[in-house]
């Protein structure tokens, strides 16, 4: 008898606290996987640095006060037409800000990006006093490599710095190309930071398109069933069977000069089949549930039932292929750039790899660093997808994972 008064308050307390919502429970489960959490942090960090790429590496000031007015020339990195007309046409800066600002308005000041390097062109001599120009040919060795060899030499008493960098150091201070420079002297670090922008953009926009097509198709096929299902399932099967490369290259070739937006649309309209199949399955399962019948009885319309009642419950499993899909979209974009089908005006990791392949005998840094960037990004999205899968699947949760 004595156990009853002890137990009772615990039971009522459990009843009084509101049960956790699905998403907060999923987040609690997701947080328990340290690797997925680290991957999420990595992706967020990557997204932030991609968003603020012009503030990290660039040759245009973020803010400048010139002839009494405030300007933001670095916005040109987002859209070329956003560069103020005064610098382009009126005062003819030609993209060279440091000298021009000083000469044309000695009173001017500017806030510069962290690293003064451009993703599109090489640094020229005397562009900025004290900053050496970028070397061309195979001489643009990574600054990081220099630091590494220096540390190695001081630890083990070897003389690798002299061996590798001796000739370059004779010409003056070493140019600050953290990850090296291409044979035309364009800084790799700047290209990679701005390339992260391309990768993130491709990942999210093309998966957004794919998710929209896939969810709509799958929802219609699963909810309506009958001949609509048969027809849409055939469409899904056909798209799955066409070799992806044919589809992508043929669609890209139709556009005269493909830009990054065309590439994103093409990746989106070729990558939706997995999402559609999963959505179809979820809808087939969920439309039998009691709450759908209840909603129908209350007179809810088809669209309302499909997108407010069923989709919200199907969203968790659909998020998993979307997370994996972002990884594969980034992969497809770098593969396309690697094959020479990318947007020629945008820096991309795949384009760097392509240049690295052409000069693989001497310029290893064009392969090592962009390769690592692609690898870690794909790994991070895969880990997030995996974490989502385990966090939102109640079967796995009960199994103690």
């Amino acid at each position: 008898m004595s156990s009853v008064p002890v137990e009772q308050p615990a039971v009522t307390a459990a009843l009084e606290t509101p049960s956790r919502g699905f998403w907060s429970e999923a987040w609690r489960q997701f947080r328990r996987r340290k690797l997925s959490l680290a991957a999420l942090a990595f992706v967020i960090g990557m997204g932030v640095s991609a968003l603020f790429a012009p503030a990290i590496a660039g040759t245009k000031p973020l803010v400048t006060r010139y002839k009494g007015e405030l300007y933001f020339p670095a916005m040109a990195y987002y859209n070329r037409s956003w560069e103020n007309a005064i610098f382009r046409t009126q005062d003819k800066f030609r993209g060279r800000y440091p000298q021009n600002l000083k000469q044309k308005d000695p009173e001017s000041w500017a806030i510069w990006p962290l690293v003064y390097q451009d993703p599109q062109r090489r640094l020229y001599r005397d562009e900025w006093e004290g900053i050496p120009p970028n070397p061309t040919g195979a001489k643009g060795k990574p600054y990081l490599y220099y630091l590494w060899l220096k540390g190695w030499d001081s630890l083990f008493g070897t003389n690798y710095v002299e061996e590798e960098f001796g000739e370059l150091l004779k010409d003056g201070p070493l140019p600050f190309n953290l990850f090296g420079a291409t044979d035309r002297g364009v800084d790799v670090f700047a290209q990679m930071v701005h390339g992260a922008q391309t990768a993130m953009l491709v990942g999210f926009v093309s998966m957004g398109i794919a998710a929209a097509i896939g969810i709509t198709t799958g929802a219609a096929a699963g909810y309506f069933g009958g001949w609509i299902d048969i027809l849409l399932s055939r469409v899904i099967e056909v798209v799955m069977c066409i070799p992806a490369l044919v589809l992508i290259l043929a669609l890209l070739a139709i556009v005269e000069r493909p830009s990054i937006w065309h590439i994103m649309v093409v990746i989106g309209i070729t990558g939706w089949t997995g999402i559609a199949r999963l959505t179809r399955g979820e809808f087939l399962k969920l439309k039998q549930m009691e709450y759908v019948t209840a909603a129908k009885a209350l007179g809810a319309g088809r669209a309302r039932i499909m997108f407010r009642h069923i989709l919200r419950n199907a969203l968790a499993p659909i998020l998993v292929p979307i997370a994996f899909g972002i990884a594969s979209a980034i992969l497809v974009e770098s593969a396309l750039s690697f094959l020479g089908f990318g947007d020629p005006t945008r820096p991309s990791w795949g384009k760097l790899l392509d240049q690295g392949r052409d000069s693989i005998q001497e310029m290893w840094w064009l392969i090592l660093f962009p390769g690592l960037a692609i690898f870690f990004t794909v790994l991070a999205y895969n880990l997030i997808g995996e974490g989502l899968q385990e966090a939102t699947d109640p079967r796995m949760r009960q199994a103690g994972h």
């Binding site: 055939r234 099967e237 056909v238 799955m240 069977c241 066409i242 070799p243 490369l245 044919v246 589809l247 290259l249 043929a250 669609l251 070739a253 139709i254 005269e256 990884a327 992969l331 770098s334 593969a335 690697f338 094959l339 790899l353 690295g356 392949r357 693989i360 005998q361 290893w364 392969i367 090592l368 390769g371 692609i374 690898f375 794909v378 790994l379 895969n382 199994a399």
Partner: protein, 326 residues
Amino acid sequence: MISYIVRRVLIGVLTLFVITFLVYGLIRSMPGTPLTTALAEMDPTKSIRQEDFERLKRTYGLDKPWYEGYVVWLANVAEGDLGRSIPRKQPVARLIGERIGATLLLTVPSLILAYVLSIPLGLWATAHSGTLRERTTSTALYMLYALPTFVAALYLQLLLAVKLEWLPLMGITSPDYAHMSVFGKAWDVFLHALMPMICFTYGSLAYETRFIKSNMEEVIRQDYIRTARAKGVGPVRVIVHHAFRNTLIPMVTLIGLTLPALLSGAVILERIFSWPGMGSLFFESLRERDYPTIMGLTLMFSFLTLLGQLLADLLYAVVDPRVTYS
């Protein structure tokens, strides 16, 4: 069973029609024709007379609209003729025959290798689940799985060919191949094939090991495993005989789905290693707008994909007596 197969085959044929029709329309609407791209490559100064150009177009049937061209192509395929490559002036079937060996040389060994390695690895990982060694191996395999093949290929080239100079950088034979002995020739091709083979293998190895382990994890918690253990069956026998046999069903599906990859090769890998296989043939014919070759390859790939799916479903019924299609 028979009626199921007949229905599936009919649907498959219909799907093939739709796929080839769409692909034909797509590639015909790409700018440029095989005639213009081939001429531009030969000599830009040598311009062709307009009437000659029209005559060439008529010879290859390019003067007709694309849907008529498709019907002509389809009629030829029905007679067993895949057509002739326009820029290479050879039958498509022979072109494919020339390239198929190089691709099979890479894909067959790597497919076998992946299974031979992944089954013991997966079983070992299940038996030692949760230990430090298993965790390390599984994490390493997971990272391998996320490593894109073209990055891996370039890293391997940097390390093994450029830095260490152990293996040739690319191609399938050395320049002095013709003067080698039979054994020397085989060794030369083997050395050239090693890096692409590793690239073909590691991804599926990682995937299949994870696949086997996750299936085993599910089976190992079943009641009959506990019963087997309780009656004193040894740990190895439980894993191999009782548990693994019950994970064969999803494995069979996986094997069916890898069938198309056997012949399609991989475009990017074959390009990186300058490997004269199906992938590079496909890429070259896309660039040359070689319609008959693209169509022949597309037909083959989609046929294999559909066949693989059908085989997987049928094998499913063979391995699992509970599954019937009647």
